[in-house]
Amino acid sequence: MLSIVHSIGWIRERSERRADRVVAFLDAERPWIFRLALAIVHRTDLAEDVTQETLLACWKARHSVRETAAIRGWVRRTLVRQALRQRVSHLAMDGELAARGDLAESAAVRAVLASMPASMRAVLALADYERLSYAEIAAALEIPEGTVGSRLHAARAMFRARWEGQ
């Protein structure tokens, strides 16, 4: 009986330790989470929403993480899910990016990206911004690995066609 109680205590302690690691990761990696959200949704206000929803969802599910090594992938998957829910139909000029660098080109790229379907924008961000492997992109988008190549090809072709056609 005592050993069962001891085991339960040990399991709970391990779960708490993993949850603490998740919370520490979420605190330390906010810039990464926000910028990845921005790479997918292209608007600061929407990226803020996506970041907050991701932080909240991951915080709520912090005890469900089994492998601490897989936290980044899990957070990325949660973020992509949140980002795909956002509607990016209206593209306003927002300060943060527009105020820096090549304003005209940046705004034009964002306008083209905003006109594309969310799944296309996401695969471009994961491949060209995050520079992930096909396996990692497949895990983040929750699609078969074989689909990643064709979707990425289609997304790049769509971007090129719209960029040249504008």
Binding site: L26, R30, P31, I33, F34, R35, L38, A39, T44, E48, T51, Q52, L55, L56, C58, W59, K60, E96, L97, R100, G101, D102, E105, S106, A108, V109, R110, L113, L124, A125, D128, Y129, F159, W163
Partner: protein, 86 residues
């Protein structure tokens, strides 16, 4: 000529992180949501109880009308109607 996407994503890599993201506290937000859910649940229960109470009091008793022929004759006699008009 550089790829426009590369240039754009390079800017995103350097984007400043807003204060709202830095200061965000998931636990505080979760507690607020929980309090809101509880308020809604409490309000729903109150509403159900209120409706039940109103229903209890608001039973309308409809008077039973039985216009039998006798009653009709009496009524028409009182009104002074002739036999053929009845």
């Amino acid at each position: 000529m550089r790829d426009p996407l590369d240039g754009y994503f390079a800017e995103v890599r350097e984007a400043a992180v807003p204060e709202s993201v830095r200061q965000f506290q998931p636990e505080a937000r979760w507690q607020r949501e929980l309090a809101l859910d509880f308020s809604w649940a409490a309000a729903s229960v109150m509403l159900v109880l209120l409706l039940a109470k109103v229903g209890e009091r608001g039973e309308v008793s409809v008077p039973q009308i039985d216009p039998t022929w006798t009653q009709w004759r009496q009524l028409s006699a009182e009104l002074g109607l002739r036999e053929e008009e009845r």
